[in-house]
């Protein structure tokens, strides 16, 4: 990276971190009960603050806001990973079937009562996500539609099938259904510290894996033959990318259900801001993912307060049009 590009990157990172902090502060205040920023600060730092305010902040909003940021970053890094892996700007955890696989895995773990062990939902989600992605990858490799259409078709067929299986399983196990329904629509309404802990186990390793593969993904962008000629071990590189992206997807899906489009929008905005070099795209995407998901979650909490809407609705409203725009551009 040369001086001009690196200055641009640093500027983008600086602005994004600043915006993220601002939105974080804002997110503490909004919700069913509105708190002023003074209330928020005093509840955070002052032991003498009103008890109910401290409880709202410490028991509900702090874990929720942290969880949302982490999930946003995880989904964004998974999006970069899947786009790099499939060389496809339309890929994201939802489109390639990873989210659907993760949801099925987590549902199975919940039904079989593994959920007494907090990490089991995440592991179930990881296994489901890995299997779904590998399957879609194999199908798209041998499909006759060309790679971009092949992935979209295989991925959407896979996602539809998986969500049908999840719905069926939940109908057959209606005592689980009750707790899991909001989760299925994509929501952080039940966010708590133990969910945050669970996400912390899977999300950071997944994001680090993806970041370590940055240069490999730059090489993959040139196509298989050139990547091979540059000495990249394709099989190993792809496996690590799939693993990292699936871990990040599983981390998010196992606590918040299927939230679409963050993994699609964030990398695109990042590329528009600082270029296509993955070493820069990954951190910038992660910050953007946090930021976008926080804003979406704030909207979900406030627009119909005290009722909450599933956050997935807002990410879909943001991301759906972008997806269609990219599709009509021919996936360029």
């Amino acid at each position: 990276m040369n001086i001009k590009n690196s200055a641009r990157f640093e500027l983008a990172i600086g602005i994004l971190i600043f915006s993220l902090l601002a939105v974080l502060m804002l997110s503490f205040g909004v919700g069913a009960v509105r708190l002023s920023s003074m209330d928020v600060i005093s509840a955070l730092v002052d032991d003498e603050a009103k008890n109910w305010q401290r409880s709202i902040i410490w028991d509900f909003r702090l874990p929720r806001v942290l969880l949302v940021s982490l999930c946003g970053a995880a989904l964004a890094s998974a999006g970069v990973g899947f786009q790099g892996l499939f060389r496809n700007p339309l890929a994201d955890p939802y489109v390639v079937g990873a989210s659907g696989g993760a949801a099925l895995g987590a549902t199975l773990a919940a039904i079989f009562r593994f959920s007494d062990y907090p990490i089991s939902l995440g592991l179930g989600a990881l296994v489901g996500s890995l299997l779904a992605v590998l399957f879609v990858f194999m199908i798209s490799e041998i499909s006759s539609f060309g790679s971009i259409a092949g992935i979209l078709l295989a991925g959407s067929a896979m996602s539809t099938m998986l969500s049908a299986v999840v719905t069926l399983l939940l109908l057959l196990n209606d005592e689980v259904l009750h707790g899991i329904y909001a989760w299925l629509l994509g929501s952080f309404s039940s966010a708590n510290w133990s969910q945050l802990k669970q996400t912390c186990i899977l999300a950071p390793p997944g994001m680090i894996c993806t970041w370590l593969m940055a240069r490999s993904m730059d090489a993959l962008a040139s196509g298989e033959e050139s990547a091979h000629a540059l000495g990249l071990n394709l099989r190993k590189a792809r496996l690590i990318i799939v693993l990292g992206s699936s871990m990040a997807t599983a981390a998010a899906v196992s606590v918040s259900g299927i939230i679409g489009f963050i993994g699609l929008i964030a990398p695109h905005l990042a590329r528009a801001l600082i270029g296509a070099n993955h070493k820069s795209v990954i951190p910038v995407s992660m910050l953007l993912g946090s930021l976008l998901l926080l804003v979406a979650d704030d909207l979900a909490r406030t627009l119909m307060a005290p009722l909450e809407m599933p956050v997935g609705i807002f990410t879909a409203l943001l991301g759906g049009p972008l997806f269609l725009y990219l599709l009509q551009k021919g996936g360029k």
Partner: protein, 260 residues
């Protein structure tokens, strides 16, 4: 010792044999052209030399070591590959694309060092791309992009450079420019080049030796003058051809279809 030696090489896609019992030795500092009609196996041989496909029979030795025994990284340190065309999934900049050529030396995770950046700078200047490092590759002309691909291969600091039809997408100006560049590189960096090439006049002008292929078999090898004979042209291309020196003392070729 030749830089590359191929012994009894047979190559196949799935079960279809494309190249049969091919032998060749590429001397250091030479430009060797693979010529022949479409489907004669030129590109397939290059792909085997680059390790992209495994021979079903025979061996390839690079600098005395068997190609298949080298790690991907070691191989990429010795052999640079310039594809005929390439479509990047995302528009990296010229500098970023060329930097990828340092991966065989630096690995895929460690940051590039000062030395690496120096090599990238040299590759930029050898290919006449100085000042273009920040340009996005999707804004380049096809001639410029071809030079970027060559620069990336040069950044690998290879001993052997493989070029697949480097001139086929270019107009005549860029064809000459790219081949002049290859010639300069061979002289300056003392690397060897194997190039698959369609244009016989360009092949005759720039290559030290030519290998003529027909239906996957070598039918002749030698200097352009030895290879581009009327008989060979009739046999391989079914044309009646004439190799001659033009007024600038460059090789030129005239041909008409043999059946007429």
């Amino acid at each position: 010792m030749p830089i590359l030696k191929a012994c009894d090489l047979s190559l196949a896609y799935k079960n279809r044999i494309v190249v049969k019992d091919f032998n060749a030795a590429i001397s250091k500092g030479n430009i060797v052209g693979l010529i022949g009609p479409n489907g004669s196996g030129k590109t397939t041989i290059l792909r085997a030399f680059s390790g992209l496909i495994q021979p079903i029979k025979g061996t390839i030795d690079i600098d005395g070591k068997q190609l298949s025994s080298l790690s991907a990284r070691k191989r990429a340190q010795m052999i640079g590959w310039v594809p005929q065309r390439e479509r990047l999934a995302w528009p990296l900049t010229v500098g970023e694309v060329i930097s990828l050529g340092r991966a065989p030396h630096r690995g895929w995770m460690l940051p590039l060092t000062k030395d690496d950046h120096l090599v990238v700078e040299q590759s930029l200047s050898l290919t006449d791309l100085i000042g273009m490092a920040d340009r996005k590759v999707d804004e380049l002309s096809s001639g410029e992009f071809q030079r970027v691909l060559i620069a990336r291969a040069l950044a690998q600091e290879p001993q052997l450079l493989l070029l697949d039809e480097p001139t086929s997408n270019l107009d005549i100006h860029y064809q000459i420019e790219v081949m002049d560049l290859v010639l300069r590189l061979v002289k300056k960096k003392e690397i060897s080049v194997v190039v698959a090439i369609h244009d016989l006049a360009i092949a005759a002008r720039y290559c030290d030796r030519l290998v003529l292929l027909h239906k996957g078999e070598k039918i002749c090898e030698g200097t352009p003058c030895d290879v581009l004979t009327t008989d060979n042209m009739k046999l391989a291309f079914n044309v009646i051809a004439n190799l001659y020196r033009d007024p600038y003392h460059q090789w030129a070729i005239s041909a008409r279809n043999g059946c007429g």
